[in-house]
């Protein structure tokens, strides 16, 4: 099953003359669980948007499921960062999950009974069905994250893209979420970006570092040089307190 699902070749992205992505090459195989780490402002979200076709690269080629990204959106489930979310927003959990089916529904149509069933199933798998009528703003960070995950999964995607899924949740919930993803990974390719390199490394099977340029090594082992290159700050600071060690032991340790 070594089939390529995402391919980026020499991708450059600039916003108002500022380079955000610089010559990024990436190849994701079917059923990979790829973690992309890097500092804030390193272009992680932009990279996901390039894969979704929301951001057009100034240069380079993007292929998703063998076609251009705009044409492949139906294969992708997207879990955006939840920071910009309005807590007063008038929608229920079910409303939000159904939004994952908008593309399939088509304009001017209503959701069908089948769509609703799919939404229930997605909520069930996230253990959130009981809260289906709750207003989204009333959810905790972890609950909201699972609703957004259900929204991404409801369309039965082949690829799951997650942007900082652990940003606003506590440690036990984080572990739970990663276990859930690990489970999903048996049938779905996952690309996850995060600045939280601690937990990520215990679950993903490939890691890349992104700070404008992508340092991709295909395996979990990341050398001190790559980390230093990515973060441009002392490595000890990042490695401190990490439960699962990402880095090779430093000399003299």
């Amino acid at each position: 099953m070594d089939e390529e699902v995402i391919r980026l070749e020499d991708v450059w992205v600039q916003y108002n003359g500022v380079t955000v992505l610089e010559g990024v090459n990436l190849s994701v195989q079917n059923l990979d669980f790829l973690g992309i780490i890097g500092p804030n402002g390193g272009g992680k979200t932009t990279l996901l948007k390039v894969i979704l076709g929301l951001v057009k690269p100034n240069r380079g080629k993007v292929t998703v499921m063998g076609g251009p990204p705009e044409k492949s959106r139906r294969f992708i489930g997207y879990v955006p960062q939840i920071t910009h979310f309005d807590r007063e927003f008038p929608a229920t959990v079910l409303d939000v999950v159904l939004m994952g089916l908008l593309g399939r529904k088509g304009l001017l149509r209503r959701y069908t009974e089948e769509d609703r069933k799919a939404a229930y199933k997605a909520l069930e798998s996230m253990e959130m069905l009981e809260l289906k009528d709750r207003q989204v703003g009333k959810l905790s960070g972890g609950e909201l994250q699972r609703v957004l995950l259900a929204r991404a999964l409801v369309s039965d995607p082949k690829i799951l893209l997650l942007d900082e899924p652990t940003a606003s949740i506590d440690e036990p919930t984080k572990t739970q979420l990663y276990e859930l993803l690990k489970d999903l990974n048996r049938r779905i390719t996952i690309v996850l970006v995060s600045h939280d390199i601690g937990v990520i490394s215990a679950y993903v099977d490939k890691i890349a570092c992104l700070n404008r340029r992508l340092f991709y090594h295909g395996s979990k082992e990341i050398t001190a040089e790559i980390m230093e290159e990515t973060y441009r700050c002392p490595i000890e600071l990042i490695a401190h307190g990490v439960p699962h060690r990402v880095l090779k032991k430093h000399e003299g340790e």
Binding site: P80, Y111, Q135
Partner: protein
């Protein structure tokens, strides 16, 4: 209160108020949740150009307003997407352009412009029958479009980016929403006038949001609230001989303050 209904102009005023409540309640909720109040202000003020055009060319200014409101709604979309102007600046530019054109047109029109004031501040007591028909037709269009695009509207209100990623033509849906705002401006103009339109788009829906967090429920609630305010304002303006549009706005404002205070105490 019932005896005032024996006058035809009062009956027309009441019908106009109720018709306006429908458009205002539904679109007001979308405007408030999407945080488009100032954009709507831009569209409604720009529509004054249409009043001027109507005077200048000698046709019913309602159609001028309809034309100007829709054109400025569409240009709003274009300014945002193509010219990459900040929304703030785009609103400001449209706002003054329409008003300046209106003033020039009115100035070019020979003679005195008799009910200019009523377009700016409303004159629910002098609504002609033709306007009732126009209002009812616009209401029908608004209800139909919102019914057909309800899920898409909710999606772009919640998260434009995710909607795009799910395959919703976000820019087009947003432009449709702006056009519906333009139609609502036309409907509301007779009630409170172009200058006060944003008050009616913002206040009843904000009150509805204090009591409900479901989009559909908020729309229904907002329609009812607007209807109550209109009737109440109309009655008070008759009783005390006040300008009807401004009275309706002040009744809304007073209720909003009261409900906000109650909300605060009950917490």
């Amino acid at each position: 209160m019932l005896e005032i209904l024996q006058y035809e102009f009062m009956r027309n005023a009441l019908i106009a108020g109720l018709l306006a409540s429908v458009a205002c309640g539904i679109i007001g909720v979308l405007v408030v949740v999407k945080r488009m109040v100032s954009i709507s202000g831009g569209i409604s003020h720009a529509a004054f150009g249409g009043v001027g055009l109507g005077y200048f060319l000698g046709f019913d200014p309602v159609f001028g307003v309809l034309f100007f409101a829709v054109v400025s709604a569409l240009s709003m979309g274009i300014l945002r997407e193509r010219v990459r102007l900040s929304e703030d600046a785009a609103v400001g530019i449209l706002w003054v352009t329409g008003m300046a054109l209106g003033v020039i047109f009115v100035g070019l029109t020979p003679g005195y412009a008799p009910d200019l004031f009523s377009y700016l501040f409303g004159s629910i007591l002098t609504v002609p029958f033709l306007d009732l028909v126009v209002m009812a037709a616009l209401d029908a269009v608004i209800i139909l479009v919102v019914f057909l695009l309800y899920e898409e509207f909710m999606a772009i209100l919640f998260d434009e980016e995710f909607a795009t990623a799910s395959g919703v033509p976000v820019k087009r849906v947003y432009t449709v929403l702006l056009s519906l705002v333009a139609l609502t401006v036309v409907v509301l103009m007779r009630i409170v006038g172009l200058v006060l339109v944003i008050a009616m788009l913002a206040i009843p829906s904000t009150i509805a949001w204090q009591f409900s967090h479901r989009l559909k429920e908020m729309m229904i609630l907002s329609v009812i609230i607007t209807a109550v305010f209109t009737v109440e304002g109309l009655w008070l303006s008759y009783l005390f001989d006040l300008a009807s549009g401004a009275t309706i706005v002040l009744v809304s404002l007073a209720t909003f303050l009261l409900s906000s205070a109650l909300k605060k105490i009950s917490r």
